[in-house]
């Protein structure tokens, strides 16, 4: 029950439109638009849930209550925050590069949203089932770097510039182990399509066959989303708020929004590649596939938040040294061992 609810809605919409005499091309276009708007609404709802969840978890870990005044258990706090952010003045300092300054917060949300279009959120539930999905995800994600840099540069403030240069260095460096860690899985499955990668985990999840890759991916993923242990980009005690220093109101709110969405993407990707995506463990198929996906994704997000509120921030030299001297060699060794293992297992006939 409930397994085909979203796929069913899409099929129903298509049937209604074709019976109303809408040509196929327009039918497809409208359906795609509906899918993408659904993704956008989904992302926004998730942002509100995550905002609340993050603060409650932070409160729990730090032995305090977190937001609990607005609505029952503080559940309406995100709405109140959005209202506050929308109501604030957009203050534009005198010496900023105005067009770039206002353009970058608008664009920062585009790459994460583009990635969401290809994530399979359940069985047959990718808005666009792209043949090179994993590669597409990394290509689009690499665009966030220059947007964040532009935000810091256009602020014309030395703290912003330091923060944005840190962002560039950190995101470019940690992209390397992030991609290399997934190569082992791609070698085993022989495909870049996310749905095929999920289906290849029917017998065993890749978190068990590629545990080191999963760890590297997790660490590099935290760094890619600029969250604490790796939040040097907006290290408050050092550089005020990094690239976001001069932003106010909604222009500021777009950056945390994009950060939360990238966190959802990193969690969703680790679910798809390492935790079996929408596949049900122990054959518990009475829970629909999309619900499994969200359960796994939220477990990953919870671990992200747990790490954030447990560990202190690391230094810049430690950040770079850890990446280039530990993560990248480990990821390369993992690829090598995976390659050798594939040939050995083929030779003794355990795996074809």
């Amino acid at each position: 029950m409930g397994e085909n609810i979203f796929v069913g809605i899409a099929t129903w919409l298509r049937d209604v439109m074709s019976s109303a005499g809408v040509p196929d091309l327009w039918n497809d276009t409208i359906l795609m638009l509906v899918k993408l708007v659904t993704v956008l609404v989904f992302v926004m709802l998730n942002f509100m849930v995550l905002n609340y969840m993050e603060r409650r978890i932070a409160g729990f870990i730090q032995s305090r209550r977190g937001p609990n005044r607005v609505g029952p258990h503080g559940l309406l706090q995100p709405l109140a925050d959005i209202g506050k952010m929308l109501g604030k003045e957009l203050y534009i300092p005198k010496s900023v590069d105005k067009i770039v300054f206002l353009l970058m917060p608008t664009l920062i949300f585009v790459p994460p949203f583009l990635i969401f279009a290809v994530l399979p959120l359940g069985k047959n539930m990718a808005a666009i089932d792209m043949n090179i999905g994993v590669f597409y995800m990394f290509a689009i994600a690499s665009l966030s770097t220059i947007i964040l840099w532009g935000a810091g540069w256009s602020s014309n403030n030395k703290y912003s510039l330091i923060g944005s240069m840190r962002a560039v260095a950190q995101m470019v460096s940690y992209e390397l182990p992030l991609i290399l860690s997934l190569l082992g899985v791609i070698m085993i499955t022989g495909t870049l399509n996310m749905s095929s990668i999920v289906e290849a985990q029917n017998n065993i999840w890749f978190v068990f066959t590629q545990p080191i890759a999963f760890l590297i991916y997790f660490i590099a993923g935290i760094a890619e989303t600029n969250r604490t242990p790796f939040c040097l980009v907006e290290g408050e005690s050092e550089i005020i708020a990094g690239p976001y220093t001069e932003y106010s109101g909604m222009t500021y709110a777009m950056f945390p929004l994009a950060e939360f969405v990238s966190m959802i993407i990193i969690s969703a990707m680790s679910t798809i590649v390492f935790l079996g995506g929408w596949l049900a463990p122990f054959g518990w198929t009475f829970i629909p596939s999309w619900l499994w996906f969200f359960l796994k994704m939220y477990v990953m997000i919870f671990i992200f938040m747990w790490v954030r509120w447990t560990y202190p921030r690391i230094r810049v030299d430690q950040l770079m040294g850890f990446n280039w001297k530990v993560l990248v060699p480990l990821a390369l060794a993992n690829i090598f061992i995976t390659g050798v293992g594939m040939y050995v297992f083929r030779a003794i006939g355990w795996w074809s």
């Binding site: 792209m130 043949n131 590669f135 597409y136 290509a139 690499s142 220059i146 532009g150 560039v168 470019v172």
Partner: protein, 177 residues
């Protein structure tokens, strides 16, 4: 409705993207602020990826986004920041070398035209294969393995050279102080 169905949407998207490519490429040259040039360069690269997409070359389009819009623009950013001036207002100005520039541009266009005419690559008829990554990988690791490895070695040499240069500067700065 009849009119809308008669339009070739691929042609529409191609011409739109081509216009964006040309305009943003011109703006790279005409921007007076070199940082704005970098943003226009990124826009140019991304819309060029769109042109590849209209040709069903998804993989090449994504390489374009990742390598050019993602990496090359960041390299340019680093270069700009290393030679940064206090005022970025007039950092991308024209100089008087019009004749030399015209000569070089004409030579490059003629050379690329000549080479693409001479290469004699015939596009096979029929639809584009869905799975292009496999064939690209096979070609790269069998027929073109030596050029591929040479390119990789070249990049490695450049990397070692960059690290060496960076170390050298640091040693000098230490001895001065």
């Amino acid at each position: 409705m009849e009119l809308l169905n008669s339009i070739s949407w691929v042609a529409v998207s191609f011409h739109t993207l081509a216009a964006v490519v040309v305009i943003s490429a011109l703006l790279v040259v005409f921007s007076r602020n070199i940082v704005h040039s970098v943003f226009w360069l990124a826009a140019c690269f991304i819309s060029l990826a769109g042109v590849f997409m209209t040709l069903n070359a998804d993989f090449v389009a994504m390489v374009q986004v990742m390598v050019y819009a993602g990496a090359v623009c960041i390299m340019v950013v680093f270069a700009i920041m290393l030679i940064r001036r206090r005022d970025m207002g007039d950092t991308n100005l024209f100089n008087g070398q019009t004749v030399a520039a015209a000569g070089v541009v004409a030579l490059v266009i003629m050379l690329s035209g000549f080479l693409s005419f001479k290469s004699g690559v015939v596009v096979p008829p029929g639809p584009v294969p869905v799975n292009q990554v496999d064939s690209i990988a096979t070609a790269m690791l069998t027929k073109y393995v030596i050029p591929f490895e040479v390119a990789a070695l070249l990049l490695l040499v450049a990397l070692i050279g960059a690290i060496f240069l960076a170390k050298e500067v640091k040693a000098d700065a230490d001895s001065d102080s």
